[in-house]
């Protein structure tokens, strides 16, 4: 095993990445152009630790190489994976991965909701949209990350929720993705998750 010097990402980069995923899962990035994606690749390249990782690097390359064709099928693939109307290939709800029936809005969702409530937050139109959709979890993480004193809460939330299922979610994307952009995001998220786990849990990175 190679001994690596772990370079942690700084708070700003972490926040930026969480925000990036948040926007992605909110569907805000559907209309970006090839130039926008190349710009994103450039920005991500400034994060050494990402560039040097296997999947981070692959993701960045994919962003760089986005073609018009990729953009054309991006929205359909995104919908196929996360929105519907067909059965979701990579459900973006925590409860899909934790509930026995795969039913959403169950105890698992309510636990997430309770966490938000504990912090004095609430999903707009609560009850209409499941609280454990990844975009809300990401937004919540950004909120906690922004405030230094919320460190322990963030750790608790990540460990009890986000870390518990997002790996599996990424696996499903990798399995079903038919588009370079959705795949790039899965790679990026997967890699980022590893780095976050190191920061939060103080563990070793995955090195083969």
């Amino acid at each position: 095993m190679t001994k690596l010097t772990v370079i942690h990402m700084d708070q700003g980069d972490r926040l930026l990445l969480y925000q990036l995923f948040w926007h992605y899962y909110r569907g805000d990035l559907m209309k970006l152009t090839t130039i926008d994606w190349a710009n994103l690749a450039e920005l991500l390249r400034t994060m050494t630790v990402l560039c040097e990782s296997e999947f981070g690097n692959q993701a960045i390359t994919k962003f760089d190489e986005v073609s018009e064709e990729t953009l054309e099928s991006f929205v359909f693939d995104y919908n196929r994976l996360f929105v519907g109307p067909n059965r979701l290939h990579a459900s973006p709800y925590e409860s899909t991965y934790s509930n026995f029936e795969g039913t959403i809005m169950q105890q698992e969702t309510i636990k997430v909701r309770n966490f938000y409530h504990y912090e004095g937050l609430q999903v707009a139109d609560e009850g209409q949209y499941p609280d454990d959709h990844i975009q809300y979890e990401l937004e919540f993480i950004c909120y906690l990350l922004n405030q230094n004193e919320k460190g322990p809460d963030l750790k608790l939330f990540l460990e009890n929720h986000f870390f518990k299922w997002v790996d599996k979610h990424c696996e499903r994307i990798e399995e079903h993705s038919q588009n370079q952009l959705t795949l790039a995001f899965a790679y990026l998220l997967k890699e980022f998750l590893q780095l976050e786990k190191i920061i939060i849990e103080g563990g070793e990175p995955n090195v083969n």
């Binding site: 519907g84 039913t103 959403i104």
Partner: protein, 683 residues
């Protein structure tokens, strides 16, 4: 955070005997559990497995969330659109077609019984409000029986199920309540405890048959022949109720002469019974009264389906088993549906644009869609049904759909039908909307109030109709007559009259929020012995039937419908955990039945060299399918069974008109259970 539950009232709006009242328990905007409603006098606080699973249905991750557009149709490329965009696309198309054809006849609606709530008539109301449009009419379920009951009694009544406690004999004729109507079982068991005997007559040795005192295995579709054989025996042994017949029926002499000429041997042969079985049934009917007969829907999905029901009705009448406590020939009722149906009738004010319907037979929809060319249908709205899994001639239907320019489907989940649509609109469930629902079996009316916010961007059908109407009227004043400014509650309010309130013993519909109410109809069907037939009596000889080119008698033998190329009958029976294609995707139910299969007797399988769980071929005149074989000794060796919850079986089905249905439902029923097939092993 609020720690208390709010409790709301709901109704299961599925096409099911029970029409259960449901209580929803919601905490912080989240529906946490559902239970039955003890205040419901028929279902008494119980649901079925489907009902208890509603939470998994409401919060199913695959539920439709946003309006989606598929382009091109069938490509699987779905784009999320806003409601504004969806309504614009639909309204734009309606207007374009109106200009092109100078009428709205190219617009068609195909709605069925996926949701039986009164407010779910909103789309019919919306279409009516556009003037003359095209419409799927008729009924795939019960039309022959409805006509039959109409010819015999003039209207549709059932008894309260409590009535069965006074019965000495209960005949469950072609009905399997253990699977399809569990709430009736408490009553049947109580009747048993009080000494009644239960007889099940069915082509399948059902779970109900297994719990009965006697089981008669009948050949599919021969119910009328069995009734005729019993009637003949009764005549020959003077077991009929002369007094009852004289007082309450017409046509007895004619019927008697007619039955006299029929051959007992032929009758026995047709229904596959011995004379001992006939004697047993005749004596139960004549000597162990009152006799309560419950007729299921399967037996009327035959070419002679209406006649089957009429024959049993006549049998009940000649033995005096009608209108007396604990007796009756029960089928289905409409007596409690006393709504005004104003929601259906927002007719356009513009006299040039008169309301009306260009009918497309719901049972022959594929052909009718192609037949109507002046103008052709170009726009189809599908709601409350899964058209492609529940239609005949499905390949023709798919072709016909290709000629349409816009297909809109309102749904909770993706189905075979939505895959063939351009727009899919997410609908609310009964936990997210107002409604009011009556039953075709019992006599209770229940209210449905919203418990939770609409899931994601789903909307009620009523709301969709309002939005669309508003948009169209922005384009042209009075284009659509469907009200745009009435609240849901106002729609409910206008469905009630003072007379209806009196029958419910309430003053305002909001009192239903305190619990369901029984409509004050007779506890025993036809207890007053008043019949709404032309003669005012039970018509054993029906001139109305004769005028409609039918046999005037309720009795008769079958014409030979056998076909040596297709020697077996395939029955489409219901299963306990689904209603056709509904409840398909619940994880736990999926584990129970993983893939479609066909049931056949092991001896038949042996004869054909078919192994259990192997794939086999089923061929009908219409087409062929490959399906997994499963064995069942509950069938005879000429009968097979499939549960029609998947699109596979549709490949075998065409439209075979049943004898009746036109009077009550504007179209003949489809003889779905006259499905003649042949089978082979897969080489």
């Amino acid at each position: 955070m609020d720690q208390t539950y709010s409790i709301t009232r709901h109704v299961c709006p599925r096409n099911c005997y029970s029409t259960c009242s449901i209580l929803g328990y919601t905490k912080n905007g989240h529906l946490q559990k559902v239970t039955g409603d003890h205040k419901h006098g028929y279902t008494k606080g119980l649901l079925c497995a489907k009902g208890y699973n509603y939470i998994n249905n409401v919060y199913h991750p695959d539920r439709l969330k946003y309006p989606m557009r598929q382009y091109p149709r069938g490509s699987g490329q779905w784009q999320r659109i806003s409601w504004t965009e969806a309504i614009d696309i639909i309204a734009g198309k309606i207007i374009e077609l109106n200009h092109r054809y100078e009428s709205n006849l190219s617009l068609a609606l195909n709605k069925y019984s996926g949701n039986m709530g009164i407010l779910h008539h909103a789309m019919e109301g919306f279409f009516n409000g556009l003037g003359k449009t095209s419409r799927a009419v008729g009924n795939p379920c019960w039309s022959p029986g409805m006509d039959a009951v109409y010819y015999d009694y003039g209207e549709h009544q059932t008894s309260d199920m409590q009535d069965i406690l006074h019965s000495e004999t209960i005949i469950l004729w072609g009905i399997n309540p253990v699977w399809t109507s569990i709430h009736s079982l408490n009553y049947i068991y109580e009747a048993l405890r009080r000494g009644a005997k239960v007889i099940t007559i069915d082509p399948v040795y059902t779970e109900t048959a297994k719990k009965s005192d006697t089981y008669i295995q009948i050949k599919p579709g021969s119910d009328g022949a069995l009734a005729t054989a019993i009637a003949k025996y009764i005549l020959e042994h003077d077991l009929f109720d002369r007094e009852f017949i004289d007082q309450y029926t017409v046509g007895w002499e004619e019927l008697r002469d007619y039955i006299d000429q029929l051959s007992m041997e032929e009758a026995l042969n047709q229904c596959g019974q011995t004379i001992e079985a006939i004697q047993f049934l005749a004596e139960r009917l004549a000597k162990h009264r009152p006799v309560y007969i419950w007729m299921g829907f399967g037996m009327q999905r035959h070419r002679n389906g209406g006649q089957n029901i009429r024959a049993i009705n006549a049998l009940a009448a000649m033995t005096g088993n009608i209108g007396r406590q604990g007796s009756g020939a029960q089928f289905g009722q409409r007596a409690t549906w006393k709504f005004t149906y104003h929601i259906l009738n927002p007719f356009p004010d513009d006299k040039r644009n008169k309301a009306g319907v260009r009918p497309l037979d719901i049972n022959d929809f594929a052909n009718d869609l192609q037949k109507q060319q002046d103008p052709p249908v170009k726009f189809l709205w599908i709601t409350c049904r899964n058209l492609l899994t529940q239609s005949a001639n499905v390949e023709e239907l798919k072709k016909a759909l290709q000629t349409l320019e816009l297909i809109v489907t309102v749904e909770h989940f993706m189905t075979e039908t939505t895959q063939y649509s351009d727009l899919v609109l997410p609908a609310t469930t009964q936990f997210e909307e107002w409604d009011i629902v009556a039953s075709y079996w019992h006599h209770w009316i229940s209210i449905n109030q919203p418990a939770i916010e609409p899931y994601y961007e789903s909307k009620s059908e009523l709301e969709i109709a309002r939005l669309l109407s508003k948009k169209l009227n922005e384009y042209k004043d009075h284009f659509s007559a469907f009200p745009t400014d009435m609240e849901d509650e106002q729609f409910i309010e206008q469905e009630f009259t003072d007379e209806f309130y009196q029958a419910l013993h309430i003053k305002d519909w909001r009192e239903l929020l305190n619990g369901p109410r029984r409509v004050d109809v007779q506890k025993t069907a036809w207890g007053t012995m008043e019949f709404k037939t032309p003669s005012g009596k039970i018509e054993l000889f029906s001139k109305q039937a004769l005028d409609n080119q039918l046999s005037p008698f309720g009795m008769g033998l079958m014409e030979n419908g056998s076909n040596p190329l297709f020697p077996y009958i395939l029955l489409l029976n219901h299963e306990p955990f689904r209603i056709n294609s509904q409840f398909q995707n619940l994880t736990s139910f999926k584990k129970i039945s993983r893939e479609p299969c066909i049931y056949l007797h092991p001896l038949l399988a042996k004869e054909k060299g078919i192994q259990r769980y192997s794939m086999m071929k089923v061929v009908s005149e219409k087409g062929e399918i490959t399906i997994r074989a499963n064995f069942s000794t509950d069938l005879n060796q000429q009968t097979l069974v499939i549960f029609p919850n998947h699109p596979l079986v549709n490949k075998l089905i065409s439209f075979t008109a049943a004898d009746m249905g036109k009077v009550m439902t504007s179209g003949k029923g489809n003889a779905l259970n006259d499905l003649h097939v042949n089978i082979t092993k897969l080489c």
